[in-house]
Amino acid sequence: MQASRLTLRLQQWIFRLSRDDTLPIVLGQRRIFILPTGAGYLFAVVLAVMLLGAINYTLSLGHALVFLLAGLGLAAMVHTFRNLLGIAITPGRAVPVHAGDVARFPMHLRNAREEARRALGFSFAGGEECFVDLPANGNARIDVPCPAPRRGRLDPGRLTLATRYPLGLFRAWSYPYPPLTCLVYPAPIRRPLPPPVAVDDPGLARGDAGHEDFAGLRPHTPSDPPRHVAWKAVARNPAAWPLLVKHFAGGAGEELWLAWDLLADAPDDETRLSVLTGWVLAAEQAGIAYGLALPGVAFPPANGPAHQERCLEALALHDSGSLHEHVPQAPR
């Protein structure tokens, strides 16, 4: 791996890779690089052969054609370079995703020139390249994908902005390196929700539900009598998972606690976190109040997007030291 480190250092030195702390990032000429593409080299070879032909057959117009095309190549080089020059990039906030999904980092682009820029390709190392056109004197937005294999905070590393417009003979590129991060929740594992626990009466450790007062809906568990299934709710949303049952509180207060300790039998911590994530999603979807108890941190039962976000974030960042970075081939 010594070689690859060397390559990295070399790249860092050549491309002056460092974080861009001032936003927006405006691409100046010193950070745009340009080389011929395969097609560009082919073009050069074709021109050389054509020139030989023109000389050999003394074709004066052949000379002219070859020289015109050579000039075209040079002009194309400048235009390819210019296609990137002066673009202002402001990164947006990436929406959190689950591990295994693809994170998308929004980039807001601004073109101050009275001329459109075309076929700008954005990519992260290891991610797919996606293209956007930037209208004359206008703005555009592009969501640049980056795979998020692990939970934690995803740092996609430097961005590659490349273009081969107009003729495909040259490729100009730049490495904007904005501060980017995306929260990656654990991949959910779908398991039935644990039963709620009674809190007021310590005797009912795994307390039954009461039968008198309707207290809300909760996901179906195999022991629920079929008459408790909330068929109306199911009918409203047949895709709902799991089936909802009417939950009746019988005197004792009950709370749904999604607790780390409930999963002592899980093979490893990541599976535990994944199951907990699945539970949070299911409980939130079902509209049940739920609490999350992780070692060292607990969120009392509540409901709603803010609560869910808090819980998922805690799950994402649980015991990860500080940041779990996914930095494929990015230099330090």
Partner: protein, 651 residues
Amino acid sequence: MSMFRRHPAEPLEQATVPWLLACAVATTAPHVEHQPHWLMAIAGLALALRTGLWIARRRLPSRWLLSLLVVAGTVAIWFEYRTIFGRDAGVALLVLFMALKPLEMATRRDAMVLIMLGLFLLLTHYFYSQSIPTGIWLIAATTLETATMIRLFGGAQPPALIVRRAGMLLLQAVPFMLVLFLLFPRVNGPLWGLPQDAHSSRSGLPDTITPGSISDLVLNGNIAFRARFDGAPLPNASLYWRGPVMDEFDGRAWRPLRLANPSPPQVDVRGQAIDYEITLEAHQQRWLLALDAPVALPDGALLTARLQAFAREPVRQRARFRFSSAPDFRFGLDESKQMLSAALRLPRQGNEQARALADGWRRKHTTPDAIAAEALQLFRREAFIYTLQPPLLGDDSIDQFLFETRRGFCEHYASAFVFLMRAAGVPARIVAGYQGGETNPVDGYVVVRQSDAHAWAEIWTAERGWQRVDPTAAIAPSRVEEGIATALPAGEPLPVMARLDLDWLRQLRFRWEAVNNRWNQWVLGYNPDRQRELLQDLGLGDIDWRGMTALLAALSGLILLAIVGWALWQRPRHDAAQRLWLNYCKRLAKAGIPRAPWEGPQDFADRVARERPEHAAAVRAAAEAYAAARYGPPDPQALALLAAATRWRAH
């Protein structure tokens, strides 16, 4: 590592296919003229098939089938040309590939290969024609190829926009082209041996003369060469451009005699020489068509014993030659025995009537001049007719012509005259060449066409050496003085270009030919000599190729720098809303309400409200309109509202 990343094969956008097909058509179609019809038919079918597949969104045929087609086509080309390496065979192969490539075009890389193939094919058009229309066609095709590349790499846009962009790119390439064209060190080709078929046959003077060989040529209006005199052009009647000289007669055809060891011609110049330059079209022969008698020859040319200027190599492409000729001269006063005996030789028998006539003259006259005058007198006296459509002649062609048909063209008269002279004991021979020419009033060049082809005679006398005698001048003097069009009887077919009655057409033709000539002289004929001339005119007289390369690099660098400068130079642009707002603030400042540079529109309005309440409402409205136009959601009305709100003046 994206710097070295190989791009995965990018599938071809379906919408780019019509562009690529258009490229294929534009680059192959002009070859219809020069390639076998079966090949062009296959190419047409293949391109039509690809178009059909595109319209029906069908899959492309298998590679296997295509390989078979390529092999079959290559074999067929080999059968056609018996080689696949010649010039024409090579072009045929390129056409074949160009037609079949679209059928396997699945990725953008394939498309680029097709485009490069197209560029190559464009060059091959110049093998056949480098005329102005070809040049225009090629510029259009190059624009199309460029546009196709833009379409490939720039995504969907209105076609007109793409083509305009391609045009702009090519325009920016023009300065490079000019600098390279003028300064790229020119090499006189060829670099290696040219294939056999590199130069197709072109019409020109024949190297044997039979009845009809010149008159066939006269219907051809093509330009044989152009001449430019340094001084005033000579009168038409003196413009005898000497081509091949024929001294062997077999009873029907005249041809040049091979001399065992020719001696250099003895020319005795009297009077002033005139300088002129000939731009000779390719005629695949060595003769150069100088005026009598050349005293200074261009490099690489030599003067034969028969006073012909010969090039060392056949003239395979248009070339310029500078001559100096003295119209007043004596030539061949002590001609070799070998030459003189050749100029007296006749077949043993045949044409007895003519021999008898000549015998009579020999007895009657003492001097060769008198005999020649007698012969010319014969042509004048009897009812000889100068015509392009003489009757066919049999075995005794001279007798038949002299005593029966009496209708003939210049070669008939020259041939009969020389026969009579020889029979009368006067050394004589036939000279073929061109006579006259037409001065183009637009550029002053004398244009000589194939229709000016002519044959005349030379006789030798001990006192004056060889001298020209033109029997045609005796029968049709205007042929020599004014040209073929006036000399022929009315109603005879003539090349359109030589007709006199269409004056406007002539004017148009003069212009067109002058433009063509300029093109030939300066674009096509731009060779190492011209390059040297130009550099001399620019005051860079003795620059060698190293200096030229340096100059070239410097100028190209300068142009590139200019373009890069333009690319990097970006005016700090304000958008329309900002412009309106800044203007408004400037006017406010003049009225005593300055805005601090750091003040946003809202802050500014707030401060104005505090300090100058009388303007509060107006400034607030303007600030809000500005904020809406600049930062609000897109709204076509916003700018108009802002313009209205900022229409404020100090009272």
